[in-house]
Assembly symmetry: C2
């Protein structure tokens, strides 16, 4: 915890915000509606302020104005690589190592294909049983596909983090690829990316990270860790728009792996009009079909901000805000049934801060009715997704003030708040 973590007052937090150069990024986003605090960057990041104007322009001047000439005269088909290059530094990747395309589920499938191509025989995928559901679904589906085709593939679900590491440290781990989500989507705790990647490699396995609840918030260094593959959600902390495109990372050592999902946009000199598929260089071969021009333009507004953001400064800001959040929970909600679930050591925290309360679901509903957005995760967790570019310390004070009020008054026990929210 930092020096700013005790004896909070609203004015003290205002002073800290005013003194923090990272507070300037908030001006790049759509101004917050008065009286509202939406701590939901773990679900949908805030909107860069110029998105509506940019989208209006690409609709009228691009789609309507250029028509099909947009495919050749504008940068519509170059966007996946350009957007990847703009955000690559945030996850410690080179500009040529990241493509922005498809959604995270599809990108996971493609990268499991890359891992499989790099290994082929005895394809055992190790993950933790508590991984994010779609990660489990897609890996289970991929293993079934290979098995039904006659190959050997299996998804191994270790019951805990410790069990994952024990398996990797065992005499004969027999794992082809380790697939983990960096930030746990419930309690906000994070894997140690470097040591876990090293443990996977020491066991002879490849390492595939899902950074969906980390990228754009937490310090990530994929090349530093030597990770093989990674995906990240583009619409959470990265602010790429609801359901916006996803990030796919391939370490330079795997640039020559042939993709399993061959498409004309991943063909050399895309779009590929040759009948015979020849993969584009490096990560470009992960492109599949035509990208959404409108969705990519939304992401581009965020990417233009991210280009200017220093990774270390971002992570420091995010850690400071998380510390304040936890400090405020301690100070303002003591004795009110709140237990902090996320690690107090910022180095072990991922994107969001979670706490538990027996009335977690109703509390989130009661907060919503008071214009404070947090999120519920069954059975008893409340999560705050803090955007280091958008939120400031006073937002956290204001949200926790409402939380305290809702708890002290017993307002959350009202019958109308008893239905569950996602």
């Amino acid at each position: 915890m930092t020096a700013e973590s005790t004896g909070y007052t609203r004015s003290r937090l205002e002073q800290l915000d005013a003194a923090d150069p990272m507070s300037r990024w908030r001006l790049k986003f759509q101004p917050c509606d008065p009286g509202r605090v939406a701590l939901d960057a773990n679900s949908i990041g805030p909107m860069p302020g110029d998105v509506p104007a940019r989208i209006d322009r690409i609709l009228k001047q691009g789609w309507h104005g250029l028509g099909r000439r947009g495919w050749s005269e504008a940068d519509w088909l170059d966007k996946p690589a350009r957007l990847g290059a703009a955000v690559a530094h945030l996850i410690g990747a080179g500009a040529d190592d990241v493509l922005v395309c498809d959604n995270t589920t599809v990108n996971l499938f493609k990268l499991l294909g890359h891992a499989w191509r790099a290994r082929r025989q005895g394809f055992r995928i190790l993950t933790e049983a508590a991984n994010f559901p779609t990660d489990l679904h897609v890996a289970d589906g991929f293993a079934r596909l290979i098995s039904e085709a006659g190959g050997q593939a299996e998804l191994v679900r270790a019951p805990s983090r410790e069990a994952v590491l024990q398996r990797l440290a065992s005499a004969d781990p027999d794992i082809a690829v380790v697939m983990l989500t960096h930030t746990d989507f419930r309690d906000g705790s994070a894997w140690d990316l470097a040591t876990t990647t090293a443990a996977a490699h020491a066991s002879g396995a490849l390492m595939l990270w899902d950074l969906s609840h980390s990228a754009g918030a937490v310090d990530i260094d994929l090349l530093g860790a030597g990770a093989d593959f990674a995906v990240a959600c583009g619409y959470k902390y990265l602010c790429g728009g609801p359901g916006g495109p996803s990030l796919a990372f391939v370490h330079p050592r795997h640039r020559e792996v042939a993709p399993i999902l061959q498409g004309w946009m991943g063909h050399v000199g895309q779009p590929g009009f040759s009948p015979d598929y020849q993969p584009a260089p490096g990560v470009l071969r992960l492109a599949t079909g035509t990208p959404s021009v409108v969705a990519n333009e939304v992401f581009a507004a965020a990417a233009d901000i991210w280009k200017q953001v220093d990774r270390a400064e971002l992570a420091a800001r995010h850690r400071a805000l998380g510390d304040v959040m936890i400090g405020l929970l301690d100070q303002q909600c003591a004795g009110l049934g709140v237990s902090v679930l996320s690690p107090r050591d910022a180095a072990q925290r991922g994107g969001h801060v979670a706490f538990s309360h027996e009335g977690a679901g109703p509390i989130v509903q009661a907060l919503l009715a008071r214009n404070v957005t947090l999120s519920f995760r069954s059975p008893n967790a409340v999560r705050a997704g803090i955007s280091p570019l958008y939120h400031n310390r006073v937002d956290l004070w204001d949200a926790i003030a409402v939380l305290r009020d809702v708890l002290v008054s017993g307002e959350w026990r009202r019958p109308e708040y008893s239905k569950l929210s996602i």
Copy 2:
């Protein structure tokens, strides 16, 4: 050819447009810029007029206003099924048979997976060598994947349409699935969907159609033909926005097939937060990751128009416009080196009308400089993608008048038009 196909004058075509009730749909689209004719619906359909306002609203009121509540309180996650239901009738599908999701390449991959699951052993995919490149790429990639995993799979490229049908009619065709693109992307000719599907079934094969250059223009009856699977591009004649989401169709008889690309949005009660994947009913299981809310809203503007459009009236309008186009080429460009490539019988034509000329590439450039958009396809084809909801007969007159001028004057021979366009 119809009675309207000879002795054209601009005023006669104006009269025909005025008398045609299908001309009313043009008012639903962004008004055409004066002096411009863009016959590029085979590449990017025209923009519904309310798209900019709808998108502005979903950005400000949806993304910024609702934030994460959009996932549960708005219809963001229901859109793929709703959009599919809105356009299903255009391709002769039931409302529950079509999902709008991902891109065409990804959907093809998923449906090849469906076909493979329905067959498993000896998975030979029959196609024509001249199929659209990404169809060849994705099928080649799928066959490689299954083969490398230890299964039997192969892409068979028949050298011609006749060779496809001969193979199916042979004593032992040994084909698991026939994968064809309904409209040839070069000459605009179309397969007979019903008889080809019947031939595939008679041979014991499944039938997978790519309707990308047909849907939204040509009369398609998938259920009538009993086709097994289909995809269609959403951003060409369907006007779903540049790079917008794609259509996937699964015949009701295959509703129970398990998807190979398992994702939380295809889980029962999506989004699926259970660690164990259980597929959603029917075509819903083809959903993968989170859909793009903004791209889907663009498509929704088109879908709101399509809901009101009768399939037979649409097809009749498209055939009439195609007949006029060919008639005008005959009448206005006689002796100028133009040869119509597309079938003169409208029943054999797909989405676009193509003609050849030795100077096809430069001609397209010269037309562009005169504000007329057509498209070039190597080596010598010029294509006009006519939108039956947007274009009228006078547009075709005006475009052909410029073409005639460019050919008679020799303007297309200027050096600046010698570079190729896509």
